[in-house]
């Protein structure tokens, strides 16, 4: 089948090329618009208890969770200077006439909105619409608000997501701008000729264009997260170029063996094509696992990655043979570096002594390299999972600047506030009166219980105002709720009570991202009120759901991916030990990248060099994304190495010689392919969005570790030590396993 495709592509090379030109021209208008229908966020899910609770709080208590935040400043006027206050009032005048706006709160409503340290005022505007719709509405608001003599910075959910979209798009352009030229230089180093070097980049680029156009169309029918764009693009570029590299190098090898152009293409197709196909399949096993998560961000990376890998695969298996058939020997035109093709003995100059050295002293290699790998992985043990806030953006962006002011001068996002809604069992008629004695009594019991939960510093509600008050006194206090003059109590009566429902705000000094806060949410959720229901919402609650959902399932998915991969490799290599070694080494590579992530992004090492603010946590989806991506990629290299070893072993039956030969024959190509991927991934370290930066770095480190320590040293050393056990397969298993040639 694969050979048939190759033959077809060679015979109908101009038709195939023309078809691809049409496809690429067709994709051109759409690929740059890939993000047009992508949605902001995507870390949450409608079925999460926290999201359900948010809906209850919105419907029953009119709690608005989405706000646009204005930060007004003046160099001289203090916030309560009538000129300052007047300018603020002018700026927000008429905003509440919009149906999309629930309220506008200024420092004149709550003096806490005036900074104690500078001439700064924080004004919040609560929105009645969802985040998706708010981005467009934000532009209306920006046009409406005239800050006059005051300085104005706009932040809050819609502004942050607008900037995340802008930064993501900018990151993508920057990543592509950096990645393609550098990748071409690496290709030049590998191939030595300009045409051969440009070819993989061009074919890879064509694949990415097609893939992004697919994402554009898919995102109109399926909810896809804007965060997926960069990752999908990164994978598309890296993998697309890798496939083309494998293909081109094999074609050159076949030409050198004296085959005709067409035969060389077909031979390359049947060998490298199979490697590429198998590589794509192993990558897809990992990436498809993302689709099983009920979180849009991961699902969309999974879907997007499948689209670009599929496009890259298609380009490699159809466009590449067609172009190579047309180019023929011209692929070696414009030589800029001396010849050092993969099949030349002299080119083994580095890999031969290395492999011989490893074969002579396997334990001396294995112990220190394994120790290094384990040491790299050690920081992963202190991994703390969390979610993103505005600090993932660079401080050059307006919404981040506003967020920083709110954090530094108003204590935003440093403490946790968990909104807990209490809905009455009977919410009709007089029974729904929140100031009725029975309801106040139940609420009072809940309020006191919430105060006792470990980690809670304070509970705010209409029944937590004074510890010496009991339900009777609260009933008295709320006989005329409109007559309450106390600012806090009056605000609570207006904003945290509705017929049939009472809102509690549970305060904690714990940071919203800390695991301890998830424990707090879990403990609150365990409370059963004497009647009615409790609904636990808030950022900490949503993080709890995200982590619970992801990590409740992740170990099983990891287990399943490991098992499927193990079985596939056992089928391919007819060994019990080799697949086990492959899987274990892959896991080591992944753990090393986790360790690096924690060391850099959680603990903040190199934050100055890499220009980011330490997150203090690892974004909860990152380990999963990296696992899915790295597992497939590392396995590609493992398969390529083992195939060469197995090929030699079949021919010679000499384990030590086979391992050495496998390493020698695959070393350059694996290094070249991995270098490109490392460069593409590392180019995303320049990204403004810290999550993208972290993925780039995590991936770059994992691939680097994989091709240096793991494939070049640890894997051959283990195989040398295992000796004949490498190829051990119980007879009964040998009988039942189907035969698959590993001629890749």
């Amino acid at each position: 089948m694969l050979t048939a495709i190759g033959i077809f592509a060679v015979r109908r090379k101009y038709i195939v090329l023309a078809t691809w030109i049409i496809v690429i021209l067709g994709a051109l208008p759409f690929a740059p618009r890939a993000q047009e229908f992508l949605k902001p966020g995507g870390f949450s899910n409608e079925s999460f208890p926290s999201v359900q609770a948010r809906k209850v709080l919105q419907e029953r208590l009119e709690v608005t969770t989405l706000t646009v935040d204005f930060v007004f400043t003046h160099p001289e006027w203090s916030p309560f200077d009538p000129r300052f206050s007047g300018a603020v009032e002018n700026a927000v005048e008429g905003l509440t006439d919009y149906d999309e706006i629930a309220y506008v709160a200024t420092h004149l409503d709550d003096p806490q909105r005036a900074s104690a340290v500078s001439n700064t005022v924080h004004v919040s505007m609560g929105l009645t619409i969802e985040l998706d719709q708010s981005l467009e509405f934000l532009e209306t608001v920006i046009d409406h608000v005239d800050s006059g003599p005051l300085g104005l910075v706009i932040t809050g959910g819609p502004a942050l997501y607008r900037d995340i979209s802008l930064a993501s798009e900018r990151d993508l352009r920057r990543g592509e701008t950096v990645a393609f030229p550098i990748a071409t230089i690496v290709l030049l180093l590998v191939f030595g000729t300009l045409v051969a070097a440009i070819l993989p980049a061009a074919v890879g680029g064509g694949g990415v264009l097609a893939g992004l156009a697919i994402v554009f169309f898919m995102s109109q029918g399926i909810d896809m997260s804007v965060f997926a764009l960069n990752i999908v693009s990164l994978l598309g570029i890296g993998i697309g170029i890798d496939y083309s590299l494998f293909y081109t190098s094999r074609f050159q090898e076949e030409l050198r063996r004296g085959r005709t152009v067409d035969n060389a293409v077909i031979a390359a197709h049947s060998h490298a094509g199979k490697a590429i196909l198998f590589s794509a399949v192993t990558s897809l096993i990992g990436l498809l696992s993302l689709v099983t998560f009920d979180v849009m961000m991961l699902r969309s990376v999974g879907i997007g990655a499948v689209a670009v890998i599929f496009a890259a695969l298609l380009a490699a298996l159809t466009l590449m043979p067609a172009i190579l058939a047309i180019l023929g020997h011209r692929v070696n035109r414009f030589r800029v570096l001396p010849r050092w093709g993969t099949n030349s003995r002299k080119n083994f100059s580095f890999w031969v002594p290395l492999s011989n050295w490893v074969m002579r002293r396997p334990w001396l290699v294995l112990i220190p390299t394994s120790t290094v790998l384990i040491l790299l992985a050690v920081p992963a043990l202190s991994m703390r999972l969390g979610t993103v806030d505005a600090t993932i953006l660079p401080d050059s962006l307006e919404s981040r600047q506003g967020f920083d002011v709110l954090r530094e001068e108003f204590g935003f996002a440093l403490q946790t506030i968990i909104p807990v809604g209490y809905t009455f069992a009977d919410a009709a008629g007089e029974a729904a009166n929140p100031f009725a004695f029975e309801n106040l009594t139940t609420a009072y019991d809940i309020g006191r219980e919430l105060e006792r939960v470990e980690g809670v510093t304070k509970v705010t509600s209409i029944v937590n105002l004074d510890p010496t008050f009991g339900p009777e006194q609260y009933e008295l206090l709320y006989q005329h709720p409109e007559a309450i003059t106390d600012v806090t109590a009056a605000q609570l009566v207006r904003e945290s009570v509705r017929p049939g429902a009472i809102l509690f705000l549970v305060h904690s000094d714990l940071h919203p991202f800390w695991p301890e806060t998830r424990q707090l949410v879990t403990d609150i959720r365990a409370l059963i009120p004497p009647s009615g229901q409790l609904h636990v919402n808030g950022g900490a609650s949503e993080i709890t759901d995200i982590v619970n959902t992801l990590y409740g399932k992740f170990p099983y998915i990891v287990g399943a991916v490991l098992l499927v991969t193990y079985l596939s490799l056992m089928l391919l290599f007819r060994s019990v030990i080799l697949p086990l070694k492959a899987v274990v080494l892959n896991v080591l590579s992944i753990l090393a990248s986790y360790g690096a992530l924690v060391f850099v992004f959680q603990q903040g090492h190199f934050s100055g060099v890499l220009n980011f603010e330490a997150m203090g946590v690892i974004e909860a989806t990152l380990p999963i994304l990296l696992f899915a991506i790295i597992f497939g990629l590392s396995m590609d290299y493992e398969i390529f190495l083992l195939s060469r070893v197995a090929e030699a072993y079949e021919r010679t039956g000499d384990n030590v010689a086979s391992v050495a030969e496998g390493l020698q024959r695959s070393g350059l190509i694996i290094t070249g392919a991995a270098s490109i991927l490392v460069i593409v991934a590392a180019s995303f370290v320049l990204a403004d969005v810290v999550v993208v930066k972290a993925i780039g770095l995590g991936l770059a480190i994992a691939v680097f570790v994989d091709v240096t320590l793991v494939r070049a040293l640890v894997a051959p050393a283990i195989m040398r030590i295992a000796g004949p056990w490498n190829w051990w397969l119980p007879a009964w298993l040998d009988r039942i396993l189907p035969q698959v040639k590993h001629d890749v």
Binding site: P111, A114, A116, M383, Q473, V547, V587, L591
Partner: protein, 355 residues
């Protein structure tokens, strides 16, 4: 190792479902501690606190002024306390009443025995010596610095300075006579002032309720040197719940006055409706206290001395200079007074309750 990491990194202890304990009982109200000086002149860690000055001032040329200056501190325990300072200044020559305020979030103070509170660009100071205070107020219209020093013993209300109520209890004491000296700059004119002030300090975990709840309060400085505080409090249903007061003689002897034992009778003789808030306030009173053999007629020197600046509309109140005349022990007597009328502004409706 990977699976172990994944199993531990995402997990929190599962919590057993548990019923909310019913019948929770409130914390007991703390037994009031004796008010002591100078510590209790300073700020307290309480929901509400105010330092309140009023008084009667005169320039060298005999130009008369009335003033009230107050600093409110409210603290919900969640964030920095909110501070609001108000100055009500009445110029009897022009009949003009100035209603000025400043607000600030965050309580900044310095020193243990002396306290300096900044509210925007206004400063309020409490000296180390009990009964010594001062403030400096600067606005475009008015600049005023006033220094006040106790000229009488302290007046602890309700014997120990502790007032329980249905909306929480508070500490409450007064310096009923303070010598005042200061400088006023009004429309560019510098005016030296002297006079007599009254100081109230109240703090505690209590709530101030608006209409129909509220109070009428009077600080009366009798011209024989005696001082009298009278409060009539209305409960949450608008019904008068308590009338109490404290009388301090010229010699500094305090006498606690209670409705039930002292026969206090306060009657409004007129009313005035604010053109700004539409609130109708009592305006003019007769006061009879049997235990002091005292009867007084009080009249505000001008009707419009409503204070609303810096507070929510529902918290607007009337705070004004009044003159009193009458008899005590059969002898004619006159007095300067300040009256405070709270809980007369109709609170706006709560929007969700209207649906």
């Amino acid at each position: 190792m990977l699976l172990t990491l994944l199993a531990t990194v995402g997990c929190v202890k599962s919590a057993e479902q548990r019923d909310v304990t019913t019948g929770a009982i409130p914390n007991p109200t703390a037994t009031p501690a004796p008010v002591s000086f100078p510590q209790d002149e300073q700020a307290h860690d309480s929901r509400l606190e105010w330092w309140y000055h009023s008084g009667h001032l005169e320039s060298e040329s005999g130009r008369e002024f009335g003033f009230h200056f107050v600093v409110f501190k409210s603290d919900d325990g969640l964030s920095e306390p909110n501070l609001v300072a108000q100055l009500g200044l009445l110029d009897l020559e022009t009949g003009k009443h100035y209603d000025l305020s400043r607000a600030e979030a965050g309580f900044r103070s310095s020193g243990d025995s002396e306290l300096s509170i900044e509210i925007a660009n206004w400063v309020y100071g409490i000296g180390g010596r009990p009964g010594s205070h001062g403030f400096a107020v600067t606005t475009d219209e008015v600049s005023m610095k006033l220094s006040l020093t106790a000229a009488s013993p302290v007046m602890l209300h309700n014997e120990i300075g502790w007032i329980p109520s249905e909306a929480g209890a508070s500490y409450y004491y007064s310096w009923p006579r303070q010598d005042a000296v200061g400088l006023l700059i009004l429309d560019g004119e510098r005016i030296g002032l002297t006079g007599t002030g009254w100081f109230d300090h109240q703090w505690g975990d209590f709530f101030v309720l608006g209409k129909p709840a509220g109070w009428q309060w009077f600080a009366i400085q009798l011209d024989d040197g005696g001082s009298l505080m009278i409060t009539e409090a209305r409960g949450i249903d608008g019904v008068m719940v308590d009338t109490y007061g404290t009388y301090m003689s010229t010699e500094g002897e305090a006498k606690i006055l209670r409705q039930e034992s002292g026969g206090i009778e306060l009657t409004a003789t007129g009313e005035w409706t604010s053109p700004t808030t539409d609130a109708t306030y009592p305006s003019g009173w007769t006061l009879r206290i049997d235990s002091l053999d005292l009867s007084l007629t009080l009249e505000p020197v001008i009707k419009n001395q409503e204070v609303q600046s810096g507070l929510p509309a529902v918290s607007a109140y009337w705070e004004g200079k009044a003159r009193a005349s009458g008899h005590q022990n059969g002898e004619p007597i006159t007095a300067n007074a300040y009256a405070e009328l709270s809980g007369y502004v109709d609170p706006g409706p709560i929007e969700w309750m209207q649906r």
